[in-house]
């Protein structure tokens, strides 16, 4: 009885499911992919939505599966903890990734993938987590340290333990991960990290 009451108290991760559903729909519709993918020339021609929607497009089946599975876990954890502004985080990180690639990486003509948004979600989750008490705080702190180290290594050495490396027809773009993490940090600070969450102090 108590267990079922506890389960019913967990919120449904609506935004996560919605985002994954949209990504799945886009992946199954080639026409939608061509309309939404980040394409540098098309953006220069005024199709600015591609800066954000490019994150929803995936360039191969493994690419789609890894990204969406990771988003399901990270997004669900954020929403089940009732950390606020998750939808805003997805939108802001997606836009920031698009703009950063456009400004800083002119050699990238076509881009797709949700991994930057996933990195934003993980960072956001850990930043909120370290404010809470108990074991969850220490776990999040450890994860945050691991994430920062990984991003540092990726940027400094251009080394990435990408799944299926060598078999993909595109190059990994670590800048999108760093941008996602920065977007999460900015939103965390700007949205007022001192505002108490409804379930602060518990996991």
């Amino acid at each position: 009885m108590a267990a079922s009451a506890r389960l019913s108290a967990i919120p449904v991760p609506i935004w996560t499911l919605l985002l994954c559903g949209v990504a799945a729909s886009v992946f199954s519709l080639p026409l939608a992919q061509t309309a939404l993918v980040y394409n540098r020339a098309a953006i220069a021609d005024g199709e600015l939505w591609r800066l954000v929607t490019g994150n929803l497009v995936h360039l191969s089946t493994p690419h789609f599966l890894y990204d969406v599975t990771a988003l399901l876990v990270a997004g669900a954890l954020v929403e089940m903890h009732r950390y606020r502004h998750f939808a805003t985080l997805c939108l802001v990180s997606g836009a920031l990734i698009g703009v950063t690639l456009y400004v800083a990486m002119p050699e990238i003509v076509v881009f797709g993938g949700l991994s930057g948004v996933v990195t934003a979600a993980v960072t956001y989750l850990c930043l909120h987590g370290v404010q809470q008490g108990g074991a969850w705080k220490w776990l999040c702190l450890l994860m945050l340290a691991g994430l920062v180290t990984k991003l540092g290594v990726e940027m400094a050495f251009g080394f990435s333990l990408t799944l299926g490396a060598g078999t993909q027809t595109f190059v990994p773009v670590p800048v999108s991960h760093v941008t996602g993490a920065v977007a999460a940090l900015l939103l965390f600070v700007l949205a007022g990290w001192r505002v108490p969450c409804p379930n602060r102090g518990s996991t």
Partner: protein, 295 residues
């Protein structure tokens, strides 16, 4: 009343109809054809395509896409009997990708080619024309596309039909013999922004029929696959020559081809997760569940 002329006329009409049906039946089962057409794909609903390409600006290193023209149904050719659909070897997506990989490997040898993308069939719409090529350009970031089409015919009767391969530059006519398998693969290379055909490389094969009535369908299937393989090899051999010729042509005719050198970029980038992030997520998820269970 004399009904003789009417009856005769009726009888004649019936005979004529029966004869026509019989003849159509014979002709309809004469050949099996499996084909796709660059002409149908690029110029649908146009009887005589009028092409007015602009001068192509080739950005080097060129980003090249390779795709099979969609289609693959049996077709009838104007003025000839309808072909029955091929019961033979089916050109699967896996086989198409293998052929495209072969073509890609030959393009990689050329200094002016940068990235090469193999484009799955799902991204090409039948009769999609240049609008569809523009979509591919957006999705894959390619400026040049290699369109591969095929046309295979297997004759199962003696010399009743000749065969016309309709290509982007006209038709090849070949004479059919019993159980022969004629195959043509054709790689046509287009510059997408200017709509200009840069060059083409056909590959033709003939597998002589050796089937008997007992093993006819099985042998035709084997011949069909062999025909595709031989035509692919011939096309790739031609492609090597055409690539060299095209390089020379670009150098010799600057008024026809403008060349712009761009910084060599990776072209296509993907935000893909790495093992470290996935491991971190697994620990976080596991930790969350463990802590919840502890209450």
């Amino acid at each position: 009343m004399n009904h003789k002329p009417t009856n005769l006329r009726r009888g004649g009409t019936v005979c004529l109809l029966l004869g026509s049906l019989l003849l159509a039946g014979c002709l309809a089962t004469t050949s099996a054809r499996n084909s796709t057409s660059v002409v149908d794909y690029l110029y649908p609903n146009v009887r005589e395509p009028v092409v007015s390409p602009s001068i192509p600006v080739l950005k080097l290193p060129a980003r090249v896409g390779i795709a099979f023209v969609p289609g693959g149904d049996s077709r009838s050719v104007a003025g000839r009997a309808p072909f029955r659909p091929s019961q033979g070897f089916v050109l699967t997506e896996a086989k198409k990708i293998a052929v495209m990989q072969d073509v890609a490997n030959h393009f990689r040898k050329v200094s002016f080619v940068g990235n090469i993308e193999i484009i799955p069939s799902a991204y090409l719409s039948p009769r999609g024309s240049f609008a569809n090529l523009d979509q591919l350009r957006t999705m894959y970031g390619v400026d040049v596309i290699v369109l591969v089409s095929y046309d295979q015919t297997q004759f199962t009767d003696e010399g009743l039909l000749s065969l016309a391969y309709w290509t982007i530059v006209g038709a090849y006519i070949v004479k059919g013999q019993k159980n022969d398998t004629h195959t043509m693969l054709d790689a046509v290379v287009y510059d997408i922004p200017s709509r200009k055909m840069l060059f083409r490389a056909p590959g033709i094969s003939l597998v002589k029929g050796s089937a008997t009535l007992v093993n006819l369908s099985e042998q035709l299937r084997v011949d069909s696959e062999a025909g595709f393989n031989k035509a692919t090899a011939a096309m790739i051999a031609n492609l090597d020559g055409e690539l060299v010729t095209f390089q020379e042509k670009v150098k010799q005719r600057p008024e026809e081809y403008r060349v712009v050198r761009t910084s060599s970029g990776s072209g296509r980038g993907g935000g893909m997760l790495d093992l470290v992030t996935l491991a971190l997520l697994a620990v976080l998820g596991g930790g969350y569940l463990w802590l919840r269970r502890r209450g």
